[in-house]
Subunit: 218 residues, 2 copies
DNA sequence: AATAATACGTTGCATTTGCAACCAAAAGGA
DNA sequence: TCCTTTTGGTTGCAAATGCAACGTATTATT
């Protein structure tokens, strides 16, 4: 545990909370840590979960899969991130998304309800609650972004709105996206070959330049 | 104000909070109330907002509009609902969505940050914070649902996943959706005529029956 | 180094979709 | 009641897209 405490102190979840208080909260949340190999399933979409996860090391993706198996990456998860979809636990609904490790990963699980509903109305719990609020607010913004991309009437506009946001995010016209081609297609809810074709078209018209996951906007 | 207090006591935002304490919170949040005619703009997407709104009476829609003016209804807002997108205030980002009244409406504005950051770490504030958490969690679920629809590879599947969720929501194969045809098209990010055509096709194949905004799944 | 596996681009084709134009029915106003 | 406005269905057409199949370059494995 100790070796990961700096991941936790660095995470938004425990922002403004001291190390010894973090331990206190973890205990309250009946925490445990589990390791996963690459491509292992961390949560399955039909699970109803009590605890939710924080990625201590490695990488993972939140994936939505439809009836026929079309996969759609909702978000990538990086170190320190928590799986905000898991807020469905507050409503005790099934997840309806799966979480899959994309690298060897180590995950901390805690029972949020335990913490939120602990009768101790201490200052720490208060800060913790606000931190969660902040995280899920950000999640909402990200989901809204995604809806913005998906709402475009054609693939070209989906691509361009996504790329221009990525550029903005990186503060540079030249940037790397965190997806390979198939993942990008899944994220934009389209077909890989259709995506390749359209990227190619856009490049021919001189709007962008790209190679693999590196892009330059013109 | 008094005539709306029951709207507030009935809302999730003030759940488990007594009437006199609601007043206390409202004061802390520097509240005000404003009226809007049908089709008036309540928030514009470029606004950066300090206060956010709770619909006391009437109806409104959260609308995303792209560069070329294609409108996309993100959600409808009903009595007691608050505009969760406005959680961007926690990040002080521009809204990037607009809120428009679809009926004559009356809206209560409060400054959430004032309340959350008030040093009084009273029990009431604590409950209030949890209520907000609950609301935005639900919002996240709704956004996830929407992403699920929009991620379908073709219009038919968008329609069918939307309708089957609506049926589930109403607990009945026969139900009314809260959209007219144009709004439904905007919500599913497609063209109205394309939507009509596909609905018609699906009906011909006997999967659904419909008339205006009333649907029956087979 | 040889081989296998993966990632990405390309292309043909059938289907879907956006768009525009038009018509009919229903609702609202004068 | 008559006229206007709104709402929704239909259709033709061009363009976009999903899908499958295939080729090549890159990366991983032995």
């Amino acid at each position: 545990m100790k070796k990961y405490i700096n991941v936790l102190t660095g995470s938004i979840l425990f922002k403004n909370i001291k190390e010894e208080q973090i331990n206190e909260i973890l205990k309250l949340g009946d925490f445990n840590i589990k390791e996963y190999d690459k491509n292992e399933c961390i949560y399955h979409k039909e699970d109803t979960v009590k605890k939710f996860g924080i990625l201590l090391s490695g990488k993972a993706s939140i994936i939505k899969e439809d009836y026929w198996g079309n996969k759609n990456i909702v978000t990538n998860i990086n170190k320190g991130d928590l799986f905000a979809e898991i807020f469905s636990i507050l409503y005790e609904e099934p997840l309806n998304v799966s979480v899959v490790s994309t690298e060897n990963s180590r995950i901390l699980f805690i029972n949020i309800s335990n913490i939120l509903n602990s009768n101790k109305s201490s200052e720490v719990i208060n800060i913790f609650t606000k931190n969660i609020l902040r995280i899920i607010s950000k999640k909402t913004l990200i989901l809204n972004k995604k809806i913005e991309y998906l709402s475009k009437r054609n693939l070209r506009d989906k691509i361009l709105s996504f790329l221009s946001d990525q550029a903005q995010l990186n503060g540079n016209k030249s940037f790397y996206i965190p997806f390979d081609r198939q993942q990008m297609a899944d994220f934009l809810a389209t077909d890989r070959s259709a995506l390749s074709r359209e990227l190619s078209n856009i490049q021919k018209e001189g709007l962008i330049e790209y190679n693999k996951n590196h892009f330059i906007l013109k």
